[in-house]
Every structure is written in C-alpha cells, then in structure tokens.
C-alpha cells in the first residue's frame, strides 16, 4: 500500500508542481480568465495518456521499452523549453510590475493562450503515459486486490494536496518576492526535468553512459523512502545520477540562474552617465 502510494505521490508531484506554479502565476497577475486553458491542457494530457494506454491494451499491444523512454525523454526536454520560456516571461512581468503600477499588466505581457494549454499539457503529459499505464495495471489487479489502486489514489491525492499548498504558499508572497521565489524554484524543477529527460534517453540507448555515475547516494536517500519520493517528485532528484545528467543539470542552472537573477534595470532606476 505504502509503495503504491509513494508512486502516486511522486508521479502526481512531477505533474502537479509546474501546473500549480502556472496557476499561481495567472492568479497573482490577475489573469484568472486564463485558468480554463490550464485545465484544458491538463485534460488533453490525461485524455491522450489514457487513450493511448487503453488503445494499446485493446489492441493487445504495448509500447516497447525504447519507444516509451524515447517518448518520455523527448517530451521532458520539450517541457524544459516551455518552462524556461515561462521563467523569463515571469521575469519580464516582474520588471514591468516594478516599473509601472502594481497589478496593471498590459497587453505586452499577454501569454499566448495556446501556450498556456501546451505548457499545462506537457507538464502533465510527459509522465502521463507511465502514470496511465500504472493506473491501468492497478485497476486490472483490483479484481484480486484493491490495495494497489487505493494506495495509488491516496498518493495522487497527497500530491494534489501538496501542489495546492505550494500554490497557496506562492500566492501569499508579496508580488516582488513571488516572481523571484517561484522563478528560482522553477529553474531547479526545470533542471531536474532536463536531467530526467537525459536519463530516459540514456535508458533508451540514444545517449550513452547510463552506468557512468557522477554520484550514488541511494544508501542515504533510498528512492522508495518518503524523502526520496519528495525529492524525486519535486526536483526530479535521482540518488543515482549519471555524469551526463549531472552535466546538463549544472549547465542549465549555471546559465539560467544568473540570467534570471541578474539585476533588473527599471526605467526609473536606469543609471545615466
């Protein structure tokens, strides 16, 4: 029961975290009208994942391991692109807020409505296939034992609750800090997704070096422990990290974090010499 709950928690957090920050962002910048687009994106991802899983089950087929890993890996890397774009878009939003009146976000900040849909879809969809497959397996076993299904559902519920708490925590921040805190959080989340995508590609055999580990702390942080699950669910932290994963993680953070934190020059504060 606990094991299945942890799987639900991990998969749920991986999907829920980006969505909760996206929602917090829209709410915080008075763009509640765009929230339905988030749910549309989430819906699309769920429908596709479930659809593919059920279609394959009906056809008595199954994705090969390489196809599954390649798919997950590529989606993860595409998702990183979107999240990065969102990070800098938020940064720009923060700048105009300090330059102009608080809360008056004008047309220049408009986020393409479809982009909101795609981002939400990617955040959920990249792990959707695996989650749907797991759910399907648990449901199929339910005739025998409902325990796995119950455990998994409890885990998902806990993930949604945690995502909600993160959302509440985020929107309670003042606007200036909101952008910095969520932006930095997202940078680490995105770096984790990138490393995870790299791992998938290594497993699929597209990128070599799966057994060349940068470090292995699985003795201290077992992946099936609750803290291992949280670290994995939020930051995609893998206790056994390959060198390639570590490189893309460090490279991403090293480039994006300084860019994000570099001093904002507002019109009023621009030094003139």
């Amino acid at each position: 029961m606990l094991g299945n709950a942890l799987i639900g928690l991990r998969e749920g957090l991986e999907a829920g975290l980006v969505v909760s920050i996206l929602v917090a962002f829209l709410v915080r910048t008075d763009r509640r009208s765009e929230l339905p687009k988030v749910w549309l994106g989430v819906g699309i991802a769920i429908v596709i994942s479930a659809g593919v899983t059920i279609a394959l089950a009906l056809a008595q087929q199954q994705l090969t391991f390489e196809a599954q890993e390649t798919f997950g890996g590529i989606l993860s890397i595409v998702a990183v692109g979107f999240v990065t774009w969102m990070i800098f878009w938020m940064r720009r939003a923060a700048r105009s807020i300090s330059a102009e009146l608080r809360g008056r976000l004008e047309g220049a900040l408009a986020m393409g409505p479809a982009a909101v849909v795609v981002m939400a879809a990617l955040a959920v969809g990249r792990e959707g296939l695996e989650t749907a497959l797991f759910f399907f397996t648990a449901a199929r076993a339910a005739g025998e034992t409902a325990q796995p299904l119950i455990g998994f559902s409890l885990g998902i519920a806990a993930a949604i609750l945690l995502a909600y708490l993160i959302y509440r925590g985020a929107i309670s921040l003042n606007l200036g800090r909101f952008f910095t805190v969520t932006g930095v959080l997202l940078i680490f989340v995105a770096a984790g997704i990138l490393a995870y995508g790299m791992h998938d590609l290594q497993e699929a055999g597209i990128v070599p070096g799966l057994t060349t580990l940068a470090f292995d702390v699985s003795a201290v942080i077992p992946p099936d422990s609750w803290h291992g699950t949280l670290l994995k669910g939020i930051f995609n932290f893998s206790p056994q990290t390959t060198v390639a994963e570590a490189i893309v993680w460090v490279a991403y953070v090293a480039v994006v974090l300084p860019l994000f934190l570099r001093p904002q020059r507002t019109r009023a504060a621009t030094p003139t010499t």
Partner: protein
Amino acid sequence: MSRTSRAAVRVTTVIGAAAALAACTSTAPPSGGDAAGGGPIAVTAADASCDVAAAEAPAGKITFSVRNTGSKITEFYLYGTGDRIMGEVENIGPGLTRDLIVEVPDGGSYTTACKPGMVGDGIRAPFTVTGSATRSVDENTRLAEATTGYHRWVTSQIEALVPKTQEFVDAVKAGDVETAKALFPVARTYWERIEPVAESFGDIDPKIDGREDDERDAGVQFTGYHRLEKDLWVDGLQADSPAMADQLMADIRDLQSRTATVELTPVQLANGAKELLDEVATGKITGEEDRYSHTDLWDFKANVEGSQGAVASLRPVIDEKDPTLGPVLDERFAAVDALLEEYRVGDGYRLYTELTDEDKRRMAEAVDALGEPVSQVAGVVTS
C-alpha cells in the same frame, strides 16, 4: 492569432507523436503462443528474491510478466553484455503485475534483475537467448567460423600451457628455486592469454590465479601461481609447496578438459578481448598481479596477445560490419606492441619495480587508446 495557431500546431504535434508511437512499429504484441509455445515468462519478484520461471527463450520478442509479491516498489531489467539495458519495467508497486516486452534479436548470455526498492544492482540471474532472429545464414556461418577459430587458438595455447606449467611445477618440487623463478612468467604467458575462457568457468580462475588478499570461503586455501610466486620470491619454499604445485597442475588439467567442450559465443569473444585489456589496466600497470616477482610486463604482453587473438578471430565479421574499425584496431595494437618492445630485456621484460611513473603513464595511455576500439567490437559483431 498567429501566435495561437502556432502553439496549436505544437499541441497537434504532441498528439500526433503520441498517436504515431501507438500506431507504428514501436509497439510489440505480447509473445503468447509464439514459437517457444511458452507465452510470457512469469517473474515473481519479492523483497529478497526474484524467480524467473524460465532461464531460456528463443531470440525475438520475449515477454516477461513481472509480479511484485513483496512490499517494496520494484523494477525488472533484462541486461545484455556490459549491462546494456535490453528492456526495463519500472514502478511495479506491491501486489501489481506488469509486463516487459523486449526485442532480443541475438542469441547469447543475458542477465535478468529485480530491483526491490529501486536500488543497487538488483537480484540477478543469467538468462540465455537461443538462436538468432534476424541474422542471415551467411552471417551465422561467419560467426560460427569466428568462434571455432578462436577455440582452436585457445586449444593451442592450452597445449603449451600444460607442459610449461609442468616444467615449472617440477622445478618447484625439485626445490630448484632459480629455474622455477625463470619459468614462472613463461608458463603464465599462456595462461594470461586465455584467462577470459577460464573465467567463464567461474571456479577455476580463483584457484589458479587468485591473490593472497582475495576473499575466500572459509576453509578455502590460497593456491595457484601466485601462492607459489610468494613462496619463491618472499617466504622461501614451504613444506606444502610441492602439494601446492601438484594442485596447480591438477587445476590446469581440469581447465584443459573443460575447455575441450566449452562453447563460446561471438559476444563472449569480444568481451573477453576487452576484459583482457581491463586486466592490463587494473592488474599489470598497477603492479598488483605479480606483486612478489614483479614480472607484470610478461603478463601485460600476454593479455594483449590474448585480446588480439580474440579480435583476430572476429576480424572477418568486423570488416563486414564496420570496415573502419579494423584498421584502427591494427594501429592501436601495433602501438601497444611497439611500446612494450622498448621495455624488452632479452627474452623477457623489465621488472615492474624498474618502471618510472612516466613509463606507467605511457602504458596506461596506450592501453586506453586500444581499449576504446576494442570495446566497440561486441556492438559491431552483434549489430
């Protein structure tokens, strides 16, 4: 609006990709009722055990049906040589059964592993895939010729190993320390050339070539070449040295009779070639193996010759599959040979203790440079 439509195209692309993945050849039907007639292979994965119902399957699509009866989340892997993942299924929660469908085109030795708790190397077991799904008859013939060719070469080495070891053993038993010392690296040359074959038997290599500080089961003695090496160079001959010598000879004869019937696969040949170079890097360039006699360079040379012997048997297949690899192999083997020649003294080599750090660094570099193309051989011959 242009922005919207561009993003909408992206959504469609993602959906399209998913649909394509579902529809194209990336799917695999469950192999129930195939040529094997066995259907999926049941795997029962508990917290401390991993029972795979069959240890063998024909090449092609193989389905494992993995049931987690333990309390931890588990994973199931099928590894090829060098721990290459052939297939894997993650997130098998307690009480669940998940299928792994893998495409294994080549016969050979594989490894199954359950990883309860998702950590470590897992609970492993050997798994044999028989036959070959995709190879043409021609290729199979060429590979068969490669393995028989290598087997012939191994046999010829053993035919020299037996009398040379006998001479060494006789010298030890006669108490002739100087002759025994001179024969030690010579007899070992034949052994070191074919060591991967001996390693494939598992129990024979530790008896013949174990080191004093190796882990042994209680009651198992330190025997073999290195035990006698220690007697000859450090402790002086002991009361049981003659018995140790006889034991070595018996183990070598055991190796001889087992080798006569051993069946090797092309992948084993290729991996053996690489293992020999790894041995050079870890045992010889470090002076670890012949720590009393310091005759490591003899072994070094023999390991490289053994590696070359295995690669040479596979050469027709390599040339067929990847014409660029052969010349690189030739060049790197030649470079290592040329380097070793610099250290030749008469029929033998300089002692390890006479090497400078610079010498060792150059050797390590040359062996690394050779190991790189050699490690590609397994992939090339099975592609």
